[in-house]
Each structure stands twice: as C-alpha cells, then as structure tokens.
C-alpha cells in the first residue's frame, strides 16, 4: 500500500526531474512519452492502492504513514505523511487517470511546438503537485500541494510567454490563488494555536465546536477553496486562464485543480460541520456562481471561454453538494465532471488544432461537417454536461439537486437556483454545439481546415478523446442513488453525508432537472439551428461578465493608484525629494566655495603643508 502510494506520488516528480535535467539530450517527442508513461505508471500505482484497500475491511482502510519529520518548530512537529484512504484513493484515480489521458493527448496536440520539453516538465510537475495535495496526510502538506498546483497552473497558463495576454492571465491566476492560499494559511495558524496539531484526525478531534474561532477556521479554508475552484467572488481568473494550451485547460482548469476546493471541503468536513453557517455559505456561493457563470456563458464567443464558464458553473454544483453535506454526491460529480469536461475541452482542442488555433465560434461555425468524430464526442460531452439520461452528468448532478431538496427552505432556494442553472446549461451547451458543429461550414472553417493525414487529428488525440467519451457515457452508472450507491458506501467512513435525500426526492430532482435541461436544449435548437426563434441581442451585463473585473479594478487598482498619487504630491515631492535636493544643494555650494583654495600654485600648497605641520607640532607640544 505504502509502496503503491509512494510510487504514485514520485513517478511524475521523477519525470519532471528527468526532463528538466535531460535538456536537449531528450528529444521533444521522448519528453512527451516520458511524461505520459510516468503519469500512466502513477495511475497503475493508484489502481494497485485501490485494489489493496478493497481487500481490507471497511473500517481498516485508512492508512497513514509518516516517512520523516518534515518540519519542527518548538513543540510542533509536522511529518511528511502520506494518507491513503477511501477519499484520497478516489482522487488519485481521477487525477492520475484523467491526467494520463490528457498528457497522452498533449503528445499530439503540442507536436511541432518549439518548447515541448518545458511543457511536459510542467505537466508532470502539476500531476505531482496535485497528487501531493490529495495524498498529503496533514493540512500542512495539503497547503504545500495547494501552493504548488497554483505554481504549475501559473507556469502553464503563461506557457506562451511571448503572448502578453497569456502572461497577464498567468499573473492574475497566481495573485488570486495566492489570496486563497493566504486565507488558508491563516486558518492553519488558528488551528495550530487552538489544537497544536495539523494532522487531519487530531485537528478534527480537537478543534473547537461552534463559536467565532470555528467559523474563522472554516472561513479561511473556504477562502482557499473558493479561490482555487474559481467560485464567487474570486472567480475572475479562470476564464482568462484559457490562454494556456487546450490540454492544460482540460487537465488543470476543468478536470483536477479547480475541483481541489471541493476535495478540501469534503476532506475537512468536520471543520465545516463545526461552523454550519460557513458550510451554508459555501453552498450559497456555489449556487450564485452556477447561475452567474451560466448567464455569462450564454453570450461568450470564444469556444474555450464558454467551456470555462460551464466549468465554473459545474463546480458551483459541486460546492452546493459539498456545502449541503452531501459529500459523496459532490465527489461523484467531481469525478463525472472530470470525464465530460476534459472530453469537451479535448474535443474543442481537436477543432482548434484542425484550424490552427482559431477559437472564435463564429469562425469555427459548421466545422462539424468536416469533423464527424469530433462532432459526435462533443455531442456526448454536451449531453453529459446537461445531464441527459443515460450520460454521466444525469446521475451525478441530479443527486446533488436531490440533496438540496433534503435541506429545508435554504435547500429549496438552492434547488431552484440549480434547476435554473440546468436550463442555462442546456441553452449554452447546445448553443455552442449547434453553432460550431451543425450547419454548413463557414468560409473560414472551409479555408483553414486541414486534415491530419486524412484524419481529424493525430492518433494520440483521437484515442484519448474516445476513452473519455466512453467514460462520459458509462461513468454515471457507477452510482444511481435510488438503486445502488457503491461510491457513497465506499466514502462513508471518511465523508459520511449529513444530507441524505429520500428516493422520492431523487426521482423528483431527476425528473425536473431532465425536463428543464431538455427544454434548454430545445430552446438552443430553436434559436441556433432551426432559426424558429430570433436570437435575442446579447445582454451587456453578461457580456461584461457582471463587471467583476471592473469592480476589482476600481476597488484595488484605482484606489491604490489614487492613494499613491496623493502620497506622491503631499509627502514624496515636498518632504523627501525636497530635503534631498536641499542637502545636495548645500554640499554643492560648500564645495564651490572651498574650491577657491585649490589655486594651482604649488608653493601655496607647500606653505599650507608646512604651516599645518607647524600647528600640529605646537598642539602636540602644548598637549604634552
């Protein structure tokens, strides 16, 4: 078990080190193969760990191994501890499994780029960081992984470092994530102050129940989760992060890293249960985000940005699930979302790759006719996203909505938001599908489309997309709450749900969500495919993304700019610069006056020397 966990964690790190140190001795293609092979190796190790856990009794599945004491500070000791339990094994499987598919896809997608080695080194670094995040056995290691996924996300968003917009997007993502890291660190400080420990079990047992401190701890953790998962109000970095290469968007900004916030809430659920106000706040933020992101996605014109907003919206559902205490449902949606969202991004990547980097849906319009395979997989992904039976999203999203029904009036409000969100999902997902993949190809698409040896893309890109499409179809059958629920049973010992919907609520939620989602799809079809309804003019509020960027610009940039300007005119120029020029002026004047003594006559100097000597002699004699 330990061997498997360590192998899983260290293989991607080994790949990073190897590619980095190998430099040009490793061919670009080999770097891709090394990265793919190690990520797949990590997946195999995760499967081995999972099988070993399966072989144990249900209450003997939590394994904590401390390898060495990592940090010691006074009475506090924090070990380098790996935790292998039901929850971390699920995350390991998702991260390494989806990760290896996406890295394999990258081999084809990045082919011919100038700096593939750097790309694959970063990718492996990301997989390592994400595995450290989920496998870390205490909150300190979790925070370390948290920071490192932020770093690798920064590096990969800014991968095209010659593009100013990519560099700006990377900086934005890093700063917003650093804000979350800071609130999380503050929560850890509080935990250390009140419990002296950071191991999960110790912290859960010792941390205060209720009260301001418990609320502050949960709020700090929620800040980290919100920043990492791009939820309100720290969400503005995710759409800009689409500047990174498409596989990066699929891996980091859809399948794994952005769902880390959900993992955090589920992992630390006892801390959130001690502060139920904050837990409700998490669900509320999730509901607000899923509505807002759905509305913005309606009017975006960049294919990747639409999918990015849909990611925000879907993570909103996960936050609803985790915040309402339906932890297994949140984790289940995390898993199916990893499948179908990675699929959507990678299918979009196939289209983008085929037209050499164009992402505007108006230019891509009708490309489905030229790319039938891509059209089918994108359709599968969209159906899974909307939650149409029997695709994956149907099972996972609807069980979250059912959990909302089992949570009193607050849950009912959130349920309503979720249902509206489902309608929006149907509209924006199929607006994208109908515009890009149906109808006659646009002049641009016809002109710029170039097939890859008669196929729609390299083999590595096609088979990985195929696997994910299959997973998006069958993945949902893992759990169908009214009949069978192996995932909930599996997660029971580490994340026992506090909201368990009845079967009637499950059926109701599924029925309503399916009907509403399909009506959204119908509306999209009527507007964008059948032209029965005239497309409404885009709403300015949605196009400007609810003015969040402008708000932050006003609140942080302009206000500090104003303060700086004020300080500059009141303090800097008169006081500091003024005193400096006075001092230098005094010295200048003095030296000009003194320079008269330097008259160039050697005899004067000699006289000065002699008289100085004489004075010194007299002084010494007198002093004696």
């Amino acid at each position: 078990m330990n061997a498997a966990a360590w192998t899983c964690l260290l293989l991607p790190l080994a790949s990073t080190v190897l590619i980095t140190l190998g430099g040009t001795r490793i061919s670009r293609r080999l770097a891709g193969y090394i990265s793919t092979a190690t990520t797949m190796g990590a997946f195999v190790a995760a499967v081995v760990a999972f099988v070993q856990l399966l072989g144990k009794d249900a209450d003997d599945r939590i394994h904590l191994t401390t390898s060495w004491t990592w940090l010691s500070a006074g009475p506090y000791h924090f070990g380098f501890t790996l935790l292998t339990d039901q929850l971390s094994v699920v995350m390991m499987l998702v991260v390494a499994g989806v990760g290896s598919l996406i890295v394999a896809y990258s081999v084809g997608y990045m082919d011919g780029d100038d700096e593939e080695r750097r790309y694959f080194a970063y990718m492996s670094l990301f997989v390592f960081s994400m595995l450290l995040l989920v496998q870390g056995g205490n909150l300190l290691l979790l925070l370390a992984g948290w920071g490192m996924v932020g770093l690798s996300s920064y590096l990969l968003i800014g991968y095209h470092q010659d593009r100013p917009s990519a560099v700006a997007a990377a900086k934005k993502a890093f700063v917003m994530n650093a804000f979350g890291d800071a609130t999380m660190a503050l929560a850890l400080f509080l935990l250390i102050a009140h419990t002296g420990k950071l191991g999960y079990a110790d912290v859960f047992a010792l941390s205060p129940h209720g009260g301001t401190v418990a609320n502050l701890i949960a709020l700090g953790l929620l800040g980290g989760a919100v920043a990492k998962s791009a939820q309100l109000p720290l969400h503005t970095w995710l759409p800009d992060a689409m500047e990174g290469p498409t596989p990066v968007s699929a891996l980091i900004h859809a399948a794994t890293m952005v769902t880390a916030g959900v993992y955090l809430i589920v992992r630390c659920h006892p801390l959130f249960e001690n502060a139920y106000v904050i837990e409700d706040l998490a669900a509320g933020l999730g509901a607000a985000t899923l509505l807002m992101a759905g509305l913005i996605a309606l009017v975006q014109t960049d294919i990747k940005r639409v999918i990015a907003y849909s990611t925000m919206s879907q993570i909103g559902y996960m936050f609803v699930g985790a915040g309402l205490g339906a932890y297994p449902n949140g984790m289940f949606h995390l898993m199916t979302h990893a499948f179908f969202k990675a699929l959507l991004f990678m299918a979009a990547g196939l289209a983008i790759h085929a037209v050499v980097g164009e992402q505007d849906i108006r230019k891509l319009a009708g490309i489905g006719k030229l790319m039938p395979f891509t059209k089918i997989v994108f359709l599968i992904g969209s159906l899974a996203l909307v939650g149409v039976f029997p695709f994956a999203g149907f099972f996972s999203k609807d069980s979250i909505l059912a959990a909302a029904l089992a949570h009193g009036w607050y849950g009912d409000v959130i349920f309503a938001a979720g249902i509206v969100g489902t309608f929006l999902t149907g509209v924006y997902a199929f607006r994208l599908f109908f515009i890009v993949f149906t109808g006659e190809p646009s002049a641009f698409a016809r002109e710029h489309f170039h097939a890859h040896h008669g196929k729609e893309g390299p083999l590595s890109m096609r088979w990985t997309v195929g696997v994910l499409a299959a997973l998006s179809v069958i993945g949902g059958f893992l759990q169908f709450a009214p009949f069978w629920h192996p995932l909930s049973t599996w997660l029971e010992p580490v994340a026992a749900p506090i909201a368990e919907p009845s079967n009637a609520q499950e059926w109701l939620a599924s029925g309503v969500a399916l009907a509403v989602g399909l009506s959204g799809v119908w509306l999209a079809w009527a507007i964008y495919s059948a032209n029965r309804i005239k497309a409404p003019a885009p709403v300015k509020l949605f196009e400007r993304k609810f003015y969040w960027d402008e708000l932050y610009d006003l609140a942080w940039y302009r206000s500090s700019d104003l303060v700086t300007r004020g300080l500059s005119t009141i303090v800097e120029r008169p006081l500091i610069a003024g005193s400096m020029s006075a001092v230098s002026g005094a010295f200048g004047l003095g030296s000009r006056e003194l320079s008269v003594a330097q008259n160039g006559l050697v005899r004067t100097y000699a006289l000065a020397l002699a008289s100085g000597l004489a004075v010194l002699t007299v002084v010494f004699l007198a002093a004696r």
């Binding site: 003194l594 320079s595 008269v596 003594a597 330097q598 008259n599 160039g600 006559l601 050697v602 005899r603 000699a606 006289l607 002699a610």
Partner: protein, 102 residues
C-alpha cells in the same frame, strides 16, 4: 659613540630641512624645487642614521635606504616631467603652471 654628539646631528638636520622647505616654498624653478625636496629627504635620512647609531640598531639605516629608493624614483619622474616641459618650450616656472585649480 665616536664622533660628535647627537645634538649636532639634530641641529644640522634641522638646518638642512629648513633650507629645503624654504627652497620649496620660495623658488619658482621646478628644478630647484626638486633639489630642495631632495635636501629635505636627506635631512630626514641623516636623522634616521644618527639615531640608528645612537641606539645601536639597524632599522633606521634600512629605512634610510628605502627613503633613498623613493627619492631616486621621485627624481626620475620629476626630471622626466621637467624635460618634457622643456621640449615643449614651456616656461620652467611653477607659478605659470596652474592649470589644475579649482
């Protein structure tokens, strides 16, 4: 100690030093100034050697030798400059060479 008492040496040295110092301060020819500096240096050498003999130790003499070495190199530089001045037909008068002034 044979020879005159130490006072005589000191007095002679003081006279030589004063002669040299006055020469530096009063004369205008760089050549004479250079000679005067040599006189000052040698007055110091005389004192060094006299006290060295008085105390029966050699360090003063060694020091005198190094002063001579310095004096010799100084003469080389000084004479070189004077020759260079002469070649350019510049007046050998230090009061006229006052380009370096504040």
């Amino acid at each position: 100690m044979r020879g005159p008492d130490i006072q005589w040496y000191v007095i002679l040295s003081a006279i030589l030093f004063s002669v040299g110092a006055l020469g530096v301060m009063l004369r205008r020819s760089p050549l004479i100034i250079l000679l005067s500096v040599e006189i000052m240096l040698n007055s110091a050498n005389l004192l060094l050697i006299a006290f060295s003999r008085l105390h029966g130790r050699e360090d003063g003499q060694i020091f005198a030798i190094s002063v001579m070495a310095v004096a010799a190199s100084e003469v080389v530089v000084g004479l070189g400059m004077i020759v260079a001045l002469g070649r350019r037909n510049i007046d050998l008068d230090v009061d006229k060479l006052r380009t370096l002034r504040g």
